[in-house]
Symmetry: C2
Subunit: 335 residues, 2 copies
DNA sequence: TAAGGCGATGTAATCGTTTCCACGCGTCGC
DNA sequence: GCGACGCGTGGAAACGATTACATCGCCTTA
């Protein structure tokens, strides 16, 4: 593959000059400029990004480490992050932690080794070895969706508390009294927030949240299914289950279907994170929607501001409830 | 951030020695080795991947350019590719072409500039500027799922023809006679194959495929919805629609729902690409499933073989039909 | 005892850029 | 007429690693 030297030789100038025209420095005579440009296209020359990065100490690359690529929420987040990054001239390397701290560590480490310009992460758990190192090396880090206590970096997230309160009120209005919840990993901030809000809302309505109505999941499908099974095997199963993410809701549906039970007749269901499929499930699922694309855009905004030496702080957006039929019949929406 | 020189200085050895212990070359005295290792952990030193890549001419990175990240099929593919790559010590940079040739070009170009070791692509269309350049530079390229005529690289794909024939037979057996299809972009190999097989299968059964029963889509949701609308507005709408990917099937469902129509009563529906949600849609969707994970693994296998100088060729797996209720009631599966 | 060989280590070239500095030359002001 | 200046360009030093080659003891062996 042609190098800058070949271009210089062909154009009959020095490599410095070639570099100057390629980087749009002023002070190159038009004639020289066209000579160089000709040589460039003649050879099909493309600058070696690796060498350039070594010299300039920047890779124009952002890292994004997410909980689970198979989760449509994260997929959409990744997509919006990539869009925003590209429009600012950055590429994105996505690391899929699969909700495992060890994998998350691996990705953070690898990304750091690649000398990315900034790191966006939706941290999976409390184990922060590599993450803390990252922050300490001084590389810009921004949390998106989830965050970690004690790690002082900007956080871009949606506050779901109000929406959870609305959801609980909605369920109560439909006559439900025995409400259960499936949480994410204990250490994730989103799980803590959602459970906390749920608990508060119940208390405000004078409802109990017995321990057996709180199932610990891991934000993945299988754990939702296990939790549903456990609920169903209870002497007095809950009337509604609130899954704190969409994949666990899928798991619940799988278990119900396997047992020949129906939503909401046998058990009502609501989820955090709205996704296009929820409109077409049987029945359509009530869910709390996050402004996912905005989350991604803001995150990139803040991260690139940091990477380019501008200051930047946290951003909090808000989530909103979308009621459908999975929790029972509302007003006139029956069919 | 500490460099190899700092380590050498602290350990009191030369950089060459440090490099040797880090790369597990033999012929370093155990004492020296531990001195170096101590210095490394003392400084928290991590080798600079950029510098290393420049020197060794390899980045241990693979590029993956896919049609659409939001498409669960590609998401799953990406996930399996990443898994396979990681287990071989490679990272993956995903480029989302969003089904636009220009974006695909952009990503291929960017990846090449980063000097990735190999490129995996599910080409979006016939415009192959950057792609052809890539092949010409000699970098290993492998097509996965879709391929391009006239570009001579290994192709890893699932042959869906037999499954399409089975699907048509299934539809025929259920009594359907007016079958329609929504294709992908004309230039994509998968679309061509699926339409071709569909057409053949119809002919074999003596059924016609009128031009108005062939809608051109682009593998994305909105186009499925438009196609469904056009079908429904026909004087004699089809009885069944076969969407050649899952997102277009979603679009069809959206349109039907918007018009208050039901599957399969008002219009039956089948899709290419099975995804977990299809089990829970209303009704569960009949679909043709690809061995997605195997596709990803094989692709990485072949690509890394190429990148590491071993020869490798194309792989063809096969897709299979999963009949559910969206095309009408079968034997005893009603509920 | 000296030559040869081998094992451990250091020196320095190299990868492909960017960029600082120096240089030559025409122009301007005095 | 001469120094200062600016402009366009080239030379060469980085960036941080890997690795071919040189070096230096020390051990073996004749």
């Amino acid at each position: 593959m042609a190098s800058i030297k070949d271009v210089a030789a062909l154009a009959g100038v020095s490599v410095a000059t070639v570099s100057r025209v390629l980087n749009a420095h002023q002070g190159v005579r038009p004639g020289t400029r066209t000579k160089v440009l000709h040589a460039v296209s003649e050879l099909g020359y493309r600058p070696n990004g690796v060498a350039r990065s070594l010299r300039t100490h920047q890779t124009r690359t952002l890292g994004l480490v997410i909980g689970d690529v198979l989760n449509p929420f994260f997929t959409e987040l990744a997509r919006s992050v990539e869009d925003a990054a590209r429009s600012r001239g950055y590429s994105v390397i996505i690391g899929n932690a699969d909700e495992q701290p060890a994998l998350q560590d691996h990705h953070v480490r690898t990304l750091l080794d690649r000398r990315i310009d900034g790191l966006l992460v939706s941290p999976t758990d409390g184990d922060v070895g590599a993450l803390r190192d990252a922050v300490e090396t001084g590389i810009p880090v921004v949390f998106v969706d989830r965050w970690l206590h004690g790690v002082d970096v900007p956080v871009i997230r949606a506050d779901g508390r109000r929406a959870v309160h609305q959801l609980v009120a909605h369920l109560h209005a439909l006559g439900h009294r025995r409400l259960a919840i499936i949480t994410g990993p204990a250490a994730t901030s989103t799980s803590t927030e959602r459970v906390g809000a749920f608990r508060e809302a119940l208390r405000a309505l004078g409802l109990a949240l017995p321990a057996e109505y709180v199932a610990q999941g891991d934000f993945q499908t299988a754990s939702g299914r296990r939790a549903a099974a456990a609920f169903l095997d209870l002497p007095e199963p809950p009337e509604v289950v609130f899954a704190t993410d969409n994949l666990m809701a899928l798991g619940v549906m799988e278990e119900l279907r396997a047992r020949g039970l129906r939503v909401p007749r046998d058990m009502a269901l609501a989820a955090f994170d709205d996704i296009p499929w929820f409109l077409h499930t049987d029945p359509p699922l009530t869910a709390i929607a996050q402004p996912t694309a905005d989350l991604g855009h803001s995150a990139v905004q803040v991260l690139t501001d940091l990477a380019e030496g501008r200051g930047a702080g946290s951003v909090t957006l808000s989530a909103r409830l979308t009621a459908r039929r999975s929790c029972g019949e509302d007003e006139g929406s029956r069919r």
